[in-house]
């Protein structure tokens, strides 16, 4: 097992409706936490580059996020890179940061993600998010993001007998977890009945099957493995980081019930870390819609294909279960500021592995996994993290 790089600190802004703050200010909130938690780090002296994930300029009519975010966290002068891969923007930024360290170019870099979304009406948000699907062959024919995942849900129900109640259980679990996370957008427990009776967005998906439109930012400080101990006694090592792609349009995929990019990326990640799905103690997976979490269970290998509904029903993905998933509350209840999500997942696993996840701590967690997808699954990234010695 090879360590690709180590996380020496991490930060997360509050997720939610952050009125009166611009994306740059929200990113600075995440950065402040990361800097404060690592007193041995001198950001201006030690950090050599910034990699930032942000999905869309349309939210604030603001492009050129690299230098902008750099300036707002007080790091003028060093190179900054903005990375876009829809909802996987920051996890792809993390991979670019990793590559920069592994290439030997830099020793210490900052990686983050940000999105400010809640100031725009839902219809604008839907249009901006839909831009990550195929314009001439999906959007033009009336596809919204929820509808693309609804098409997967209907097919999954038809093929494997997955039920609306099982999907609702994903939302119930993630809301329970978010209730234990002070930074989560939604601090409200819900019942299966609440989900089933909520407004239909795109049948079979109801409002409570959908993740939240949120503002938020996330960051981690990555260091070359050999240097990590100089900065912290509790580094977290990245032992696998992979990425795979699929067609942007779901209609070109062989199956509607599998996200092949997740399958490819996770297979390679387990190989890289020399581990199996059974070795994972805690995972953060992409639950933009409840069906996405069920499909992720299957494609990551936490259960057999078609048994994702059963896995949630049996409570195995709750805190205390065989494989706790989305202890943070997930995109569903912690919130989904799209550009921030990938690194926010890594932030949660980082907290779990250093034992700082508070009331939602998974006892003895040593190895964690993140799975972030972009769009309707055209991009998937998987990271495996291990508590440092």
């Amino acid at each position: 097992m090879k360590v690709l790089a180590s996380i020496i600190s991490a930060g997360l802004s509050k997720f939610g409706k952050l009125d009166g703050l611009y994306a740059r200010e929200i990113f600075a909130e995440a950065a402040k936490e990361a800097f404060e938690n690592c007193p041995n780090l001198n950001p201006k002296k030690d950090i050599e580059a910034l990699f930032i994930g942000q999905m869309s300029e349309s939210y604030e009519h603001q492009g050129h996020a690299g230098p902008l975010m750099l300036n707002w966290v007080g790091l003028n002068g060093i190179p900054a890179f903005r990375v876009e891969s829809a909802c996987a923007s920051s996890s792809v930024a993390l991979r670019v940061g990793l590559m920069a360290i592994m290439s030997g170019l830099y020793n210490i870099v900052m990686v983050g993600g940000v999105e400010k979304m809640t100031h725009l009406p839902t219809s604008n948000n839907m249009e901006i998010l839909a831009s990550a699907s195929d314009f001439p062959f999906e959007q033009w024919h009336g596809a919204t993001f929820p509808s693309l995942f609804a098409l997967m849900a209907t097919a999954h129900m038809h093929e494997y007998g997955t039920t609306e109640e099982q999907m609702a259980l994903v939302a119930v679990k993630n809301h329970e977890n978010a209730f234990l996370n002070p930074k989560a957008h939604m601090q409200k427990k819900i019942t299966v009945q609440d989900v089933l009776s909520s407004k239909v967005v795109s049948w079979p998906l109801k409002l409570y099957d959908c993740s939240l439109i949120s503002d938020g930012a996330s960051c981690v400080i990555l260091a070359k493995h050999e240097l990590a101990k100089k900065f912290t006694d509790t580094p977290v090592n990245i032992i696998a980081s992979t990425q795979a792609q699929d067609s942007l349009s779901i209609l070109e995929r062989e199956s509607l019930t599998t996200l092949n990019a997740i399958k490819l990326a996770s297979r390679e990640a387990f190989k890289m870390a020399d581990l199996t799905p059974k070795d994972i103690d805690v995972a953060e997976v992409h639950d933009c819609f409840t069906i996405a979490e069920i499909i992720a269970y299957e494609d990551l290998g936490f259960c057999k294909k078609g048994f994702g509904g059963k896995l949630i029903e049996e409570g195995e993905t709750k805190i205390g279960g065989k494989i706790p998933v989305n202890t943070s509350g997930g995109l569903k209840a912690k919130g989904h500021p799209v550009g921030a999500t990938g690194v926010a997942q890594v932030y949660e696993i980082y907290l779990q592995l250093i034992g700082e996840a508070g009331k939602r701590q998974v006892n003895g967690a040593e190895i964690g996994l993140t799975c972030n997808i972009g769009g309707s699954g055209a991009t998937a990234t998987v990271n495996i993290l291990k508590r440092g010695d």
């Binding site: 024919h141 009336g142 609804a150 239909v200 795109s202 209609l251």
Partner: protein, 129 residues
């Protein structure tokens, strides 16, 4: 006329024709026109007429629409597997929501379009046979 482009695909739609693309080297078929064969990498692709019939393999009822379809909600959106073995996503019309079923046979039809270039391509939809 052998320009393989999205524009050309929709030009055919304005003539009420569904055309697909076939690879001369490996015989792969595409519903979304591609300039290169994804299967074998060949550049030798040509248009062939598709029958425009197929069956429904999944659907959803869109209650909160794309802003462009504000007046049509709730509408049915489906994925149709064509007889040629490739798929399209389109609205399903002329069927009641309670009658829609996975596996049902469907055929293509075309809407009128006033402007046939980007971004106002003539839309296709599917309806029961």
């Amino acid at each position: 006329m052998n320009i393989i482009s999205i524009e050309q695909f929709y030009n055919f739609c304005s003539q009420k024709k569904l055309m697909g693309v076939k690879c001369e080297e490996c015989n792969a078929l595409y519903a979304i026109p591609k300039p290169l064969c994804i299967n074998c990498g060949s550049k030798k692709l040509f248009w062939i007429p598709f029958k425009g019939v197929g069956k429904l393999i999944s659907y959803t009822i869109v209650h909160i629409p794309h802003p462009r379809f504000q007046n049509e909600a709730p509408y049915i959106l489906g994925i149709i597997e064509l007889e040629e073995g490739v798929k399209l996503l389109a609205r399903i019309k002329e069927v009641k929501i309670e009658d829609i079923k996975i596996g049902m046979p469907l055929k293509i039809d075309f809407e009128k379009s006033e402007n046939e270039t980007w971004p106002n391509w003539p839309r296709y939809f599917f309806k029961p046979i």
